[in-house]
């Protein structure tokens, strides 16, 4: 059967929002989430979110470096000259982009805090030691997650470390959780960070080719409970999923005359605060027809 084709999109309605969590307000801590949206020279768009680890003293800087690292890597690997048109080619690019994100992040840390280099060896992009975090490595204070998506419809490449998540909305088809937060994260009690030694082993990396996608939601874990639901699979296990009603977010911001501020107002609402005291960040992007 022929794949349905979406008319060429005129661009994106991009609505980013980031609000400080009620817990951080109470504790006098700043918002440790960061996001970045960036139009790449070849027409692709980068959407990146990062969640600085609450337990790390300089994590908001780590989160900023993470999204900047994603921008540097995307500019390098998604230039018009480097555009691939096959699935294997796209996968190669995504892989290079992921490694580029890690190298740029390490480089930014080294550059911003030169003293660090002398104190401890940094983890390599593919390190697989048996400890998650080096206790004596000062870089751990910059601990952060990252999820970066390069959108070049109908191609979407993603790279994530940690518990951020990606939902795509398809027409027809509705909302789908494409990059879920790691399973069992709440019961494990630990999150893999860009500063973790086993970051590569636990990274989410992939390419999606889907002409039916009309929008993306790139989110930090602070909005996870408010947006996602739990579904029981046939084998009895439970997994997170994007509920049907999540498509309303894309409907709302696809409509002409929408107020971008609505997203931040909603993330700051009591309904969201009841689900989590954490910072809440979301980039919602809808393709304009």
């Amino acid at each position: 059967m022929a794949e349905p084709e979406r008319p060429v999109a005129a661009g994106w309605n991009v609505v980013p929002a980031s609000v400080i969590g009620s817990t951080h307000v109470r504790l006098g801590v700043v918002n440790q989430d960061r996001y970045l949206t960036h139009a790449l020279s070849g027409g692709a768009r980068l959407f990146a979110v990062a969640d600085g680890a609450g337990s790390r003293s300089r994590s908001e800087f780590g989160a900023q470096y993470a999204v900047e690292a994603a921008r540097l890597a995307a500019e390098r690997h998604y230039s018009p000259a480097a555009r691939e048109r096959t699935v294997p080619g796209r996968l190669r690019t995504a892989h290079a982009f992921a490694r580029g994100c890690l190298e740029a992040f390490d480089g930014l840390l080294d550059g911003m805090v030169p003293a660090m280099s002398a104190l401890a060896p940094r983890p390599r992009a593919t390190d697989r030691p048996d400890t998650r975090d080096d206790r004596d490595d000062p870089r751990k204070e910059y601990g952060t997650t990252l999820l970066a998506v390069v959108a070049e419809p109908p191609w979407y490449a993603f790279f994530g470390v940690g518990d951020c998540f990606l939902v795509v909305d398809r027409v027809p088809g509705g909302a789908r959780l494409v990059v879920p937060p790691p399973a069992e994260r709440e019961h494990d009690g630990a999150t893999v960070l860009l500063t973790s030694r086993d970051r590569w082993e636990h990274a989410a990396l992939g390419v999606l080719h889907d002409p039916l996608v009309r929008g993306l939601a790139v989110c930090t874990d602070g909005v996870m409970d408010a947006l996602l639901s739990s579904r029981r699979a046939a084998d009895g296990s439970c997994a997170l999923a994007a509920p049907e009603e999540m498509s309303r977010y894309f409907d709302h911001f696809a409509a002409p005359g929408h107020r971008p501020e609505d997203l931040a107002e909603r993330l700051a609402s009591e309904d969201f605060a009841r689900t989590s005291g954490d910072d809440k960040t979301m980039i919602l992007a809808v393709l304009r027809p």
Binding site: A53, G54, E184, A226, D262
Partner: protein
């Protein structure tokens, strides 16, 4: 500004799914009766729910269980007060917390009480995992005692020495956070061994005050980052308690 009802419908939020487990391990031995502490505790517990409900997001995601040691040896109490015997589900939402009148008598099987609490936590964790319910943070276990651990005959027992490493192991595995509150009569050496970074020795302090300190601790520890080491959470909880004390003192002086 978009009308909030319209916005709520346009951008819907799911009901809170995460859970925060709070387990109280309460001394109901004879000394609690003799000192009149049990009556004081009962009175304080009656008003504690309202205080807990002010702690966000504990009000919406908190579940509480209660274990007593002393009267009838070790008992799991229904924290909602609806069931008189052992409840089928020991954990109830915080908003339903309305414990029955506690009675005090007998020896002090503190270790068995804590062990029972750890068992309840493990069972509930498994239930939540199977139901696809996330844990918002590590389960919080609170011990309140005025005495010395004893064996079944009331003789001082050293079995707490075997319990301490079990608690340390659970802490380092990020399975629980353990706090101990000792009121007048409690053995400080035992508390220090069980909760070296998180024990409070509270002499001449009312039980209402103990519960108030516990609320402050729950607020701080319940909102801590999941990947924080236990020692850091305990340190922050102590700071939070001090801060709450300063605010309370200021309020008292300034009406």
């Amino acid at each position: 500004m978009t009308d909030s009802t319209v916005l709520r419908d346009a951008l819907p939020a799911q009901a809170p799914r995460g859970r925060l487990l709070i387990t109280l391990v309460v001394d109901t031995s004879e000394s609690m009766r003799e000192s009149g502490r049990i009556d004081e505790l009962n009175a304080a517990l009656r008003g504690w729910r309202e205080e807990l409900l002010k702690v966000d997001p504990v009000a919406s995601i908190g579940e509480i269980a209660m274990v007593t040691f002393g009267f009838n040896h070790v008992q799991v109490i229904d924290p909602s007060g609806r069931v008189s015997g052992p409840p089928a589900q020991p954990y109830v939402p915080v908003r339903e917390f309305s414990p029955p009148e506690l009675r005090a008598d007998g020896v002090t099987p503190l270790v068995a009480g804590v062990q029972e609490a750890l068992r309840l936590v493990a069972v509930r964790r498994r239930e939540l995992r199977e139901a696809g319910m996330p844990m918002k943070n590590r389960p919080l276990v609170y011990l309140i005692t005025d005495g010395v651990p004893t064996d079944d005959k009331g003789h001082k027992s050293n079995d707490w020495q075997d319990l301490a490493p079990v608690i340390r192991q659970q802490e380092s595995g990020k399975h629980i956070l353990f706090f101990a509150f000792g009121v007048t009569g409690a053995d400080e050496a035992v508390l220090r061994a069980l909760a070296p970074e998180s024990y409070s020795s509270l002499t001449d302090v009312t039980m209402a005050r103990v519960l108030s300190l516990m609320s402050a601790s729950i607020e701080s520890a319940g909102n801590a980052s999941r990947d924080q080491p236990a020692e850091k959470v305990y340190k922050d909880a102590r700071e939070h308690q001090k801060q709450a004390d300063r605010i309370r003192e200021w309020m008292r002086r300034n009406g």
